[in-house]
Symmetry: C2
Subunit: 351 residues, 2 copies
Amino acid sequence: MKKKKAYAAAGVDIDLGNRVKQELPALLAATKRPGVLGKVGGFGGLFALDTRRHRQPVLVSSVDGVGTKLKVAFAVGRHDTIGQDLVNHCVNDIVVLGAEPLFFLDYLGAGKLEPRVFTEIVRGFAQACAENRCALLGGETAQMPGFYAPGEYDVSGTIVGVVEKANLLDGRHIRPGDVLVGLESNGLHTNGYSLARKVLLDQLGLRLNRRVPELGRTLAEELLRIHRSYGPLILRLLRRFNRPDARPAIRGMAHITGGGFIDNIPRILPAKCDAIVRKGTWPVPPVFELIQRGGGVEEAEMYQVFNMGVGMVLVVAPEAADGILRAVRRTGLPAWVIGEVTRGAGRCRVV
Amino acid sequence: MKKKKAYAAAGVDIDLGNRVKQELPALLAATKRPGVLGKVGGFGGLFALDTRRHRQPVLVSSVDGVGTKLKVAFAVGRHDTIGQDLVNHCVNDIVVLGAEPLFFLDYLGAGKLEPRVFTEIVRGFAQACAENRCALLGGETAQMPGFYAPGEYDVSGTIVGVVEKANLLDGRHIRPGDVLVGLESNGLHTNGYSLARKVLLDQLGLRLNRRVPELGRTLAEELLRIHRSYGPLILRLLRRFNRPDARPAIRGMAHITGGGFIDNIPRILPAKCDAIVRKGTWPVPPVFELIQRGGGVEEAEMYQVFNMGVGMVLVVAPEAADGILRAVRRTGLPAWVIGEVTRGAGRCRVV
């Protein structure tokens, strides 16, 4: 009989960790893209930057988690969407600056490694990385006994992308008169889940596996809808509408995450501009109305917690708005003019 | 009276989060280095790569956590060392490939944000980043009610560095006859804490705040000793001993983390080489003997869980070993010849 090792008895099983990781190479290989060097298992992930394509490369990076959306995944035992949420969230955060994703690294903290769950999570990372042409370059899986409740875990991820310095979109080109184009979200994305779960599950007493007529699906399906990636679409729009040596038609973009329009649009506004978002210019999806009514949440707070049906806002030149709207809608994604830029003080108002 | 907001009642306070983050800009500014662009609060961190210095730049990245060392920090309420542990660990993971650190991003997941604790943690990140000339370029702080026990949190961090492709140290130059030089660790660094805590606290019943004669300090002081960064030293050694257009004198390096010599040295070994680590060629610090004796842990397992007093192994040309040893020791850091490379099958043996 094999002797139980001391480290395993303390809750950490190195061999188990290594066994679980055997599936990794195939999953990672599926996300390979030009630039990826080296092998899995080295100390660091390697990515060769193509300096012929990038003469003044600016690396754009972002780190994120998925928050308490994880609790919904735990409750229904579905783990392949979380990685997609996280990668797509990260992609959106750097693509708003004009950057093309290069690579992504994940962190997974858990009490005890469940091989099936681990593989499902990583499969989600790998799928979304491949869809965004982003290499899954590395990851860390921490076995932390006594840290996470049984069956629970936390994930975080970091993305690195690149943009040519002259094409960096930091909002400096935004002027009064510019138009706000909103792109449809896919539900809550990854924000506001603590409030949403409290209202829907605790206050309204809805069940995750029960169909909700207003939503046309089960509550779990609604709450696990995957954070949409706007990455490939936006990179195509930038290539088509922002020409080198001209003032860009797409002047800035805001990923609508925690803090909603109110906190996110000002991140790209010049100090002397305000953004006006006009309610009623797009359809607010039923899940938000359910939360607002069910929880008696003030409308103002709804707009500071949730995306309210708009996952991405493009600030565009007025003369380009129609062409951009058409180009977006042609892909099947609903989009609307949801407001405009005025003189102001760097704030966003929802009216 | 101010009305309590629904999101705050659900355990998430956006305003609190924003207040806590007011200290961030000053802390991050202290880590600024050439290349850093943009401002805190944008969607992504910006770093301009200098393509005059880097003609064939390879980006080297790594993600890590600090494991259950956090439990010791929680127990004694000390939070400024954890960030240093994490940054230094990440720096070591990329410097072994020859890479110079560029920037770091952190993730902090917590149940409820404690402003004092948050500031202490970030101060640790900022201090270590500054010491390693690495920009603290961004971070994510997730308030996840009901996820972490009160007063607890998890951290992870991702580092990105750069190395000129011709200088990438991936172990391919290692040959039989090369010498292993070990650099002293600063205690446990960040590995094996689940086992160490189980033996020292549960089995031996030692108290964290009590002085342990063999250790010459309290147990908490011993267990919170900061993971040493070898980054600045190794970058200096590489500049001095590895000349362009010659076979490098420093042929590969292994950061001794979870898995010890046994799992980490093979990561850089060519398929036809073995590494022999000779016990008794360096002094094993008393904390490891305490764990081994106290827990009745087999010696073989000790060497697969802990660093045993050696935090970094350099594989060097035999004729360069003396010069490298002298150069390391001159900085005050103990170092020893701890073994050699032989013909073999890509394995490490401790004899």
